[in-house]
């Protein structure tokens, strides 16, 4: 019945919508006809003309009202209202072009930044990488319990697991494996990302057409053959090889391994394409000297993606693959390959980061951290626009009062004001699209300075459009709330009397606006201060040991089983060769990397039982370590060459001051005994100064140094030298290469690696700085806008005060004091907002060496000062204007 009804009336409704004027004319004619006929009837009854006319009209009723009522029954009336509101909004926007332009610009900036970053995050984190039939693309995420550490862990697959899945799965028609890694290209000194992949990797990802050349042939991933070929990603090809058109067939070297380039992978064929150079995963043993993961029976290293067979669902795949993996679990136990007894459970995802249980929390945290500040920028833009609209609404209060007096309903009034916001937001939103697609590219460019090795494909998508719609709706509502409230609170009488000066906006409203803007601005400026400070902090750090003349030599030597003797010879030859190099002072080994946090061990006193000891980091060092790193000796002695016993582990230990304080708060540490986790008893022979080697600028916790055994092959090699670093780096590299041509290394001083870390963070902080500048600008413009608006509102009040004897200085002070109070409250609210954000940020960065404190007073104070100074400047002009009020002119207008 309802549908039939609609079918029947739809043409009617459409007609009425199209030819509205004719309908109005028809209605008029119809009503006039009725009255005419009644008039004639009355005449026929013997009334005179005048009486007949009046009676006819009286019998008919209120003509105007009834015509309106009839008009309202027409279906398109609501649409007509919207259309009227829209035309009104356009007219009022055109009447104040500057104001509208500012509002539109602020919103375009706010919405554009948000959408831009969301577009990027969406492509990177929220969508499956593939563009071809994403519904069938799957990634397998295993979770093991009872493996290695015993705790549940998300991890990767072993080579055997991959084989089992590839050979037995019926629900997947294609299974690919890959591992992200890094390697040195040619003689470069920086690792570039590579992707070890099975030969069907591109096919599974839905990329079948290379930009140039070809992709891997299936035979190239044959175990044991290890065909030495490589595919380059388009961006890497462009910036590392200058887009060489004759690259196919040329030979490149990764970690010294020669590889023939066979193809270029286009960057626009997938949502994101990892990896700079793609090589067959079977080359892993050649690229990675120390570790043959491919042949290792129980090292998980591969992540697996695949395509569902037509007709299979993810649930089918999960059931089947779990069964296969459980079979693997049992096989592991039966063959006694691993000491650990694992149980596997599987999650099947669409390949996006957000669905990966291993990454979900990190991704969510990152998204909150990136979108949160941007949302604040949008809020700032909204409050700016709200101020502008508020002033417009109040300037038009006479007009609004007349509308209300004529009987317009409040809902229609609200609709009118809402439409004005909507119009502005829509124009701003449309403009923001221009920005939205530029922002991700700008960010990627800044981050990687034209050297991004992977590219995120940016394209419009329903999630992005949905996000844009939500932002625009929120912006509309937020920016129109305050004007609507002001219009509703309008005092009709004063407004109609035209006593413009008497009507003022509550000072609470203006204060609220200032507080909001300062608080939001504060949070963003804090972020900028934090990040702006980091590069300087990293470079300015005094770690308590030598960084400029300590060269880290990253070696990858296979020390397992049969290779042990060979490795032994290599190391002693290398040491001799290095010591013979001019400029080299000493070589040393240490097991801990500087600025890398490693889990502490449990150290006990002899009187303590297992489990009651205290955590301390243990660094296994060679005798020359302390002199090379220039760590000050406080008491006793450091290790001597004579301490190295050829029989085995040394029973001596050197401790840091923090360690001594922790274990023997009052007593003398020298000569005391401690117990290692493996029950070795060590005697303390010396105390050395604390260093700041874990986090930048933060003193390390308790640290224990043990002496490296003479036949140990573990630890990182460091070279101490005099003179400049560059020639020595080349000399060390050549020395290593001459002993083992497959070792292509990039030695760096600790200082150089610090600098490169600072550089990469500087790129990030540039982006944040730009965003914070936008925020600061908006906050300041907002404070200025609100304050000059408030001053304009209060001109009359100032005039009266002056007439009553207030000096100009008093007026100036009162305006300024009020604003300063608002700013102070705003700053406090800002701290309340920033603190939880910093806590979250801290949690995410807990493992990085960045020095972030929970409540960073310096950051807060700097940001507060910056904001206060800038907003003072913004306040100055309106306050001056208030001071210059001419009482005569103001009072005369009344």
């Amino acid at each position: 019945m309802r549908i039939e009804n609609w079918l029947y009336t739809l043409p009617l409704r459409l007609r009425s919508l199209v030819s509205r004027n004719r309908w109005d004319a028809d209605l008029d004619e119809e009503l006039r006809d009725h009255i005419d006929r009644q008039f004639e009837e009355n005449l026929a009854r013997g009334m005179d003309r005048e009486e007949a006319r009046l009676t006819a009209l009286r019998m008919f009723g209120n003509l105007v009202a009834l015509r309106e009522q009839t008009h309202d029954t027409w279906a398109w009336t609501p649409l007509e209202h919207i259309w009227q509101n829209f035309r009104y909004a356009v007219r009022s926007a055109r009447r104040a072009p500057l104001l509208s332009a500012i509002a539109i610009l602020a919103l375009a900036l706010g919405i554009g930044l948000n959408t831009g970053v969301f577009t990027m995050l969406n492509a990177m984190f929220l969508t499956a990488p593939t563009l071809v039939n994403p519904a069938s693309f799957v990634q397998l995420c295993p979770r093991y319990s009872g493996w290695f550490t015993g705790a549940d862990q998300n991890s990767a697959f072993t080579t055997e697991d991959f084989d089992a899945i590839r050979n037995h799965s019926q629900t997947l028609e294609d299974v690919a494996a890959q591992q992200q890694n890094s390697a040195l290209l040619e003689q470069g000194n920086k690792n570039i990302p590579i992707l070890l992949a099975s030969c069907n990797y591109f096919h599974v990802l839905g990329i079948d057409r290379p930009l140039m050349g070809r992709f891997f042939a299936s035979g190239e991933c044959q175990r044991g053959t290890g065909t030495q070929v490589a595919v380059l990603s388009e961006p890497l090809w462009k910036h590392q090889f200058d887009g060489d058109p004759a690259i196919i067939g040329k030979t490149i070297h990764l970690n010294g391994v020669p590889l023939a380039v066979i193809g270029i992978a286009p960057s626009d064929a997938a949502n994101y394409l990892l990896g700079g150079i793609f090589v067959p995963y079977t080359l892993e043993p050649q690229l990675n000297h120390a570790n043959d993961l491919l042949a290792s029976p129980d090292t998980p290293w591969l992540s697996i993606t695949g395509r569902l067979r037509t007709g299979s669902t993810r649930d089918d795949a999960r059931a089947e693959l779990t069964a296969i993996m459980n079979q693997q679990d049992r096989a592991y136990v039966e063959r006694e390959i691993s000491a650990f007894n694992r149980t596997t459970s599987l999650t099947i995802t669409n390949g996006s980061f957000i669905e990966n249980p291993n990454l979900r929390n990190l991704v969510l945290g990152l998204m909150v951290l990136m979108l949160g500040p941007l949302a604040l920028i949008l809020l700032l833009a909204c409050s700016n626009v709200a101020t502008l609209f508020l002033s417009r609404t109040l300037a038009r209060r006479g007009e609004i009062a007349i509308r209300l007096a004529l009987g317009v309903s409040r809902s229609r009034l609200a609709g009118m004001l809402l439409m004005e916001s909507l119009l502005t937001v829509c124009i701003g939103g449309t403009l923001s699209m221009l920005l939205a697609y530029r922002v991700p590219l700008l960010i990627m460019d800044t981050m990687a300075a034209g050297k991004a090795t992977f590219v995120v494909l940016i394209r419009p998508e329903w999630r992005v459009l949905g996000y844009l719609a939500i932002l625009m709706a929120a912006a509309t509502v937020l920016s129109s709330l305050m004007p609507i409230r002001a219009a509703f609170k309008l005092d009709l009488l004063t407004a109609l009397k035209g006593r413009e000066g008497a009507a003022t906006v509550r000072s609470r409203t203006t204060s609220g606006l200032i507080v909001t803007q300062i608080a939001l601005g504060f949070v963003l400026v804090c972020a900028a201060v934090i990040f702006g400070r980091i590069p300087g902090l990293i470079k300015g750090v005094d770690p308590g040991f030598e960084v400029h003349h300590t060269l880290a030599v990253p070696l990858a030597v296979n020390t397992s089983g049969n290779n042990r003797a060979k490795a032994q010879i290599f190391y002693s030859a290398l040491e001799a060769k290095l010591l013979a190099t001019p400029g080299v002072q000493s070589v040393a080994y240490a097991s801990l990397h500087p600025f890398n946090q490693s889990p502490p061990d449990e150290i006990r006193l002899p009187s303590q039982t297992k489990g009651t000891g205290q955590p301390a980091s243990v660094d296994d060092v060679s005798t020359s370590f302390f002199s090379l790193f220039d760590i000050r000796l406080m008491r006793g002695r450091v290790f001597l060459p004579s301490d190295v016993s050829s029989t085995g582990a040394s029973p001596l230990a050197v401790v840091s001051q923090a360690f001594a304080r922790q274990f023997w708060p009052a007593g003398d540490p020298l000569g005391k005994t401690i117990v290692m986790p493996d029950d070795r008893h060590l005697t303390v022979v010396g105390v050395v100064a604390d260093t700041r080697s874990e986090r930048f600028g933060v003193l390390d916790g308790p640290r224990l140094y043990t002496l490296r055994g003479p036949y140990d092959l573990t630890g990182n090699l460091y070279v101490g030298f005099l003179g400049s670093a560059k020639p020595l780096e080349t000399a060390v590299r050549d020395a290593v290469k001459s002993l083992d041509p497959t070792q292509i290394i990039a030695p760096q001083t600790i200082w150089e690696s610090l600098e490169s870390q600072a550089e990469s963070i500087a790129a990030l902080s540039h982006i944040i700085l730009v965003m914070a500048s936008v925020a600061l600008l908006m906050a300041v413009a907002g404070v200025y806008g609100v304050l000059s608006f408030a001053v304009n509102q209060r001109t009359r009040e100032f005039g009266i005060k002056m007439v009553l004897g207030a000096s100009r200085a008093t007026i100036f002070r009162s305006v300024l004091l009020q604003a300063i109070q608002d700013i102070a409250i705003g700053l406090m609210c800002g701290v309340a907002l920033a603190e939880p954000a910093m806590l979250l940020f801290n949690r995410l960065l807990a493992k990085s060496p960045l020095p972030l404190r929970k409540f960073d007073l310096t950051v807060f104070a700097t940001s507060a000062l910056l904001l206060a100074v800038v907003s003072m400047i913004a306040m100055y002009l309106p306050a001056i204007r208030a001071m210059r009020t001419d009482p005569m002119r103001v009072l005369r207008t009344d």
């Binding site: 029947y8 006929r37 009834l66």
Partner: protein, 111 residues
Amino acid sequence: MSKPSDLVQGTLDLLILKILALQSLHGWALSQRLKQVSGDVLQVSDGSLYPALHKLEQQGWIKAEWKPTENNRRAKFYSLTRLGHRHLEKEAANWERLSSAISVVMRLTEV
């Protein structure tokens, strides 16, 4: 003169449909007919007819057509649609049920 209450409005709709079911009429003729049948029960101005008529038209129950009348004039004639007939039948049946139920109740209280 003022907007008829909901009850009256409902009754008015029904009356209009009933009258138009018999013959198609223009607005004024309809108002005359309405007065004739309902006497003084329906205390509404002539003009209130038009919002009701237009609403019924929007609902698809009646349709309007301009037709020539005497003296070279024209008027908008309303007639019932197929949907309108069906609606009227249903409403009439409802009305029957309601009024008989009420009369039963009334008789009960008299006993």
